[in-house]
Assembly symmetry: C5
Homo-oligomer: 257 residues x 5
């Protein structure tokens, strides 16, 4: 569970509903306004994107709630362990540990190394896989980004529609006039909420999660290549620790030595 | 038929007309406002672009409604089939299948290979053709993009004109004042509608369709080059499957093996 | 005569004056407002740019009204003709046709080839000349772009000045108040008109015309280099036709063959 | 102590509180408005960024208050001194001065040189360290940048909420109406203050401080490489002075000679 | 004296004060508003930039008023003359003319050539000097750019403060209300003036002047390198004329020949 995402939702919702609206949500609920802003954004997505891209959107949302699944420190420890096995008993000995590896990307890479695949081909296959993953993440994020920017646009459109209706109605009753204006502004409020809280920050988090996943996958790729090359476990460790922040580096043979 | 385009138009129109206007279109129809916004955008296009670019605009609109004509999986299957024929009976045997190929780009490429053209020249001719297609798509899209951004600009200009007329008229009748303001805002509404629904998303869809066409053409180019080089059909299949998403790869010799 | 430019001006002016103002120009003419917006833009240009750049502005305006002077198809036909003369009678035979060439860029290039200048030097001289032409076009366009963006800026400044004057005057006469506001908005109207119709689209057209001239000059450069190298006229034609759209390519030896 | 930061805070606060508000802060303090703008920004940061990035924000603020710790002129003098020792007594003689060097980056670099490490490896290690430092600075700055841009966004959201509440309340008491509008505007004021004074300029200062630290570190790197190569102290001085402004160069052997 | 700068200031001031304000400056002078906008911009600069950068700002303003000091045509004539001396009497003969050269950059370059310095080192030293000059110009310009963009930001902040104060005051006296609004708008006016007339165009002029100085310095560098290489004066002239506009090239041996 990504604590930041949960905390952000709770704090943001409290700020808007508790602090801003003093828990009186009534004046801010208007069904046609919800319809025009969210329906308009949906229309935008369907019109502008390929169906597959729109369909991939829900799949990329849960990742923003999950804690980063792979700890780079643990991955490096695992890879150093594997390199010790490979040095001691030969690379074929890794066959036995393959099944215990939960990550399919690392498992496939090590399988290729055990199979004696040409190192350049291993690198090629793993990098192509990473490119594919990144392209799919990018597609989904660009769709969410279109939702994020569509919100304020449709919010403004709804407000213009509301203002025209209100002004056409005449000015006999000033209370009706201000009430009409309040309703017209609700679509602007929804659009602003989409950009600031409901969609916008999730788009940024997707980019963060993608970055984390890619840097773990880069460590895996470098580790597999290093094991395949028959590097000394200490060298493997040194090569991989470069990808860690200095504060995370205090473990392993390297720091004991 | 591109289902997303149709669904987007239906949903978007329903949101604006049904939800936003409650089916009362009357107050939102104003002929001079239509004239100034759409006429202004047309003037912009004629003034700013070459005549040929303006004339190419209608031709690029239908593509946003058509389903993507080429399924990359089918294309790959076809290309693998051709490579089998070429391996078995020689590349000249492809002469017989050329006429059944509907796509002129692929047909021309294979014709060149059958004619024994130098591989570098084949690649050059096919890439130049792709560049030309992409340049024409880009020209048309940039013209539509100018329409998209001209809408809000001319909408704002029309509103300023309306406000000046209204304010000059004096404030004796407050109802006339608000009605004048409503009319002034209608051009802003049209401009906003052009950007959010009537033109904007179609520009994005053109880019998506261009991307799809180019990636299919890239597969065709790689396939022709691979057939020309006399590659083993399994290698042809492997080389081309890289361009598919992992979920689409489950077919052919490669996965049976 | 560039038909698009004329049509754009006529339609745009009709939309603003006929449709928007219903032919009542009176309320939109305000001499001080004209002074502040156009004078302010002039002040900006003088302050921000080199004098030579400001002086070059009027020279670059007529090009937006002229039809593109060189038809690439005609240029290619001419160049193929020249290459035939050069193949048949030797490159010195081109001396006789030089005087009939209206374009100084092409004439100078062929003169260099006739003089037996080193091909690399010919290319260098012609490319430097193209760079110089493009730099001058770019300078003039950037000055017009500053006019385009200065319009709305000074329009807003004028409106702020007008609002302050109006508000300081007090609210005794509401009619005076709205009339003052109308006048204040006129500078916004002028600024918007500069960006949307009077200057903006001309900036875009300058870029289009520059692009057309440069692509014709590129054809001339490639043609001179090909003639100098003694290429077969059919090869010259093939090399140059790459620069045409496919629909324009249906002429000459190449398509007859 | 960075005098500019202190002076900027004092002058900016005086301009806002003393000049703008005439020392009457009362009307500008509204607890719910503070809650929505600052709470909303916090929610944004938690939702959009990795927890580690959010946690690194406070650590990067003090740097904007501290005077630049390293004077490049002093660093160069020190490095020239070290090169003299190395030339006279051999590079191992630097072992004795290592402990007096306060900067860990320079100390580690010289230690590597004294240990006889391969020059390419020294450069690699020092550059990786610089990349790591810069990446951490960049992470922290991008988080502060999100705070900077979140301010006006949440300020606008708060104002829309306030306007809706005010307009729903009706217009019976015009004083209540304007008072409600004043409160609604306070979130816009806070957002604007975040961007212009409270957060924005600190983001720029962080970039300046990072630039200064990196250019000092570059001098250290070049100095260590030059000492390692056994360069003549005068050459070391010449190589490093290139990184100084001309007015700072008037010292040392080079200018005496 | 740069005529454009003077003319721009005169015309711009006349447009604002004469045309816009009808010479009635009174309503536009408000001391607290001046304080908040200009003080706020100063606070921004001090907070965001290094002290040295802020201090360098006044030094870069006079350059926008001065006529470009070096005429490239004159510089080229001088360099051709020097190359004649060097060809006729040897490069050492240039020692005598060095003192008459007013420009320190050119003098230093020729001194290096006379001293028999290695050509690569001459080029390196002169280019480093040019980089340093350009970096200092860039620093100063970026500080002025921050002033330019800070103006409208602080103008808007001042207006929000003014509006809140005005609205809190209640609506008993409508004249007081509009007068308060006028004062609130004055900071927007100052901010707009900073961007459009008082600071903005000077930033652009600084870039123009930097461009002119750098292109003259490039001619000097190429000339020194050509003289050092012992080029024929006619070649020197040809090499340098490339940097002139075609209309400026009608002088010297080259056009006489």
């Amino acid at each position: 569970m990504d604590f930041g995402t949960i905390a952000g939702i709770v704090i943001g919702t409290f700020c808007v509903v508790g602090v801003g609206m003093s828990w009186q949500i009534g004046p801010f609920i208007d069904v046609p306004s919800i319809g025009i802003v969210f329906g308009g954004c949906l229309a935008n997505l369907l019109l502008a994107l390929a169906m597959d891209t729109v369909k991939s959107m829900p799949k990329s949302l849960p990742v923003t709630f999950k804690a980063s699944k792979d700890d780079p420190v643990e991955i490096i420890k695992k890879l150093v362990e594997f390199s010790e096995v490979a040095r001691r008993d030969g690379i074929l000995a890794l066959e036995n540990v393959l099944e215990q590896i939960p990550d399919p990307f690392l498992r496939q890479g090590l399988q290729l190394a055990v199979d004696g695949t040409d190192p350049e081909l291993i690198q090629d296959i793993m990098e192509t896989e990473m490119d594919n993953i990144e392209a799919r993440h990018g597609d989904a994020k660009s769709a969410w980004d279109m939702f994020r920017s569509g919100g304020p646009t449709w919010g403004a459109l709804g407000t213009v529609i509301g203002l025209i209706q209100m002004l056409k109605g005449g000015v006999e009753d000033p209370n009706a006039l201000t009430a009409g204006m309040a309703v017209a502004l609700i679509t602007t409020f929804y659009g602003s909420l989409i950009a600031s809280l409901m969609v916008g920050p999730f788009c940024d988090k997707m980019a963060v999660k993608n970055g984390e996943e890619m840097s773990v996958k880069t460590i895996m790729l470098k580790g597999v290549m290093s094991i395949q090359a028959g590097d000394n476990p200490r060298i493997v460790e040194q090569k991989l620790k470069i990808f860690l922040a200095p504060t995370q580096r205090g473990f392993g043979k390297d720091s004991e030595g």
